[in-house]
């Protein structure tokens, strides 16, 4: 297996989202590799994966490695046995968005006292529990996060007003 193929495999396997051929090419920083060679290597990888449980496909936003559809039952089983556990940091972030929406990343960080690791908001977005509702008109125009309908569905709420009220003393605005 060529080095180029392995490098592309590594990048695609490590990425959470699809990567474009152009991005792959730029990540290489290699004057000896052309964009065409990248495309070729991607095609070869596709063949390599014929006898594996995953495949390389091109979707709207780029290339990604995904589980072949034949293995759906087992993936489903494994998720059933071990549903994803959310970290306290993720739960606290979600809680702040629920009770303080719309809220910026900076505000979440200032209440929690530590920087937010980037994948927390990503996971919440992937779950479609939160979305960006707009941007605050302050320097940097930070994104404002709010909860979604899917969040209400998944948590069995009819309306965002149904979230339990907080004891008076813990009101956030102090």
């Amino acid at each position: 297996m060529s080095d180029l193929k392995k490098i592309l495999e590594a990048i695609l396997m490590a990425s959470r989202c699809p990567v474009t051929a152009k991005d792959l090419y730029e990540t290489l920083h290699d004057p000896n590799t052309t964009e065409d060679q990248v495309e070729e290597a991607l095609a070869e990888l596709q063949c390599d994966y014929q006898d594996r449980a995953f495949e390389l496909v091109e979707v709207a936003s780029g290339w990604r490695i995904q589980i072949k559809i034949d293995f759906t039952p087992w993936v489903q089983n494994s998720l059933k046995e071990k549903p994803p556990k959310y970290s306290p940091a993720l739960m606290e972030t979600l809680a702040l968005i629920v009770y303080q929406q719309p809220i910026t990343r900076g505000e979440i960080e200032s209440v929690r006292g530590v920087a937010l690791s980037s994948n927390i908001l990503q996971i919440l977005m992937d779950n479609e529990w939160i979305r960006i509702s707009g941007y605050r008109e302050t320097p940097g125009r930070p994104a404002l996060y709010i909860t979604t309908k899917k969040f209400l569905d998944d948590f069995g709420l009819k309306n965002i007003k149904n979230v339990p009220e907080l004891p008076e003393i813990t009101k956030i605005s102090e």
Partner: protein, 276 residues
């Protein structure tokens, strides 16, 4: 501002900083950190033990036989320099300076040490702390060198968003969310800086009050010096004032028997005291 800038400014003005209102015209002597690396180093120290350990290791000093006098002088030079350079100096640095000074003074009294058989080397505690800290420092570097997920090691994964099945609902409910929020808020409260209020009571005033009362009456009852309404701060100040007066030999405290009232009176040897 680099040290070079400081030196250049110093050359121009002959004064490059002011400490406690005093202009400083020369850098402290005995610095073992190369001047050009000084600023970088000083910012990096993880505390007084780290600084001390650096001074010891830099000079190849045997940690079990620290020349306290020399190290103390060097340490204090750095502390002064950090103050000159306006580094935010954690109180712990000053505590260490005091500890070093104490060890130094204890070591200057060799006769006392010899007399008491079980007297430990005054440096023992410091050496133990330095060794323990060095071990932790070493371990932390080892730990940081290990390959870790997210920095050196990356998880390989394949996407499953396109698979059609009922994704299991999250194993969390809204109660977990409120719980999470409450714990954030509880932590935030702990983080809140506490405001230091200006002292409402002055020890000197209180000392004068006690002395005035004693000039009027021969005795006052110990408990009458305290006013409950003044709260804890008031009680502490009143008590400190009495201790201070006692220390200055201005008053005497008497109690006839255990559990009997305690009385305060003017010191009888007050006049003699001034002669000695």
């Amino acid at each position: 501002m680099s040290l070079n800038d400081i030196v250049q400014t110093a050359e121009k003005s002959q004064v490059f900083a002011t400490v406690k209102g005093e202009p400083v015209t020369e850098l402290p002597k005995n610095l073992y950190i190369p001047p050009e690396a000084l600023e970088v180093y000083l910012e990096q120290f993880e505390g007084p033990l780290d600084l001390l350990l650096f001074l010891i290791r830099k000079q190849d000093i045997d940690i079990l036989n620290i020349p306290v006098n020399e190290i103390t002088n060097q340490y204090v030079s750095y502390i002064e320099l950090m103050q000159i350079l306006n580094f935010e100096l954690a109180a712990e640095y000053l505590v260490m300076a005091a500890m070093l000074a104490e060890i130094k003074s204890r070591m200057m009294l060799p006769s006392v040490v010899e007399e008491e058989e079980d007297e430990e080397d005054p440096r023992a505690e410091l050496v133990r702390r330095l060794q323990e800290y060095e071990k932790v420092k070493f371990a932390s570097i080892e730990l940081d060198d290990m390959e870790r997920v997210g920095r050196d090691v990356f998880i390989a994964s394949a996407n499953i968003d396109h698979l059609c099945f009922d994704q299991p609902k999250p194993q969390v409910d809204i109660g977990d969310l409120t719980h999470a929020l409450l714990s954030v808020m509880a932590r935030k409260k702990q983080r809140k800086p506490h405001t230091v209020e200006a002292i409402k009571f002055s020890i000197t005033d209180r000392m004068n009050n006690v002395m005035n009362s004693l000039r009027e009456f021969d005795f006052i009852r110990f408990q009458d010096c305290f006013t409950e309404e003044e709260g804890r701060a008031g009680l502490v100040v009143a008590f400190s004032a009495i201790l201070q007066l006692l220390r200055n030999s201005l008053i005497e405290i008497t109690q006839e028997k255990p559990l009997y009232p305690i009385f305060i009176s003017l010191a009888k040897n007050k006049t003699k005291d001034s002669q000695s």
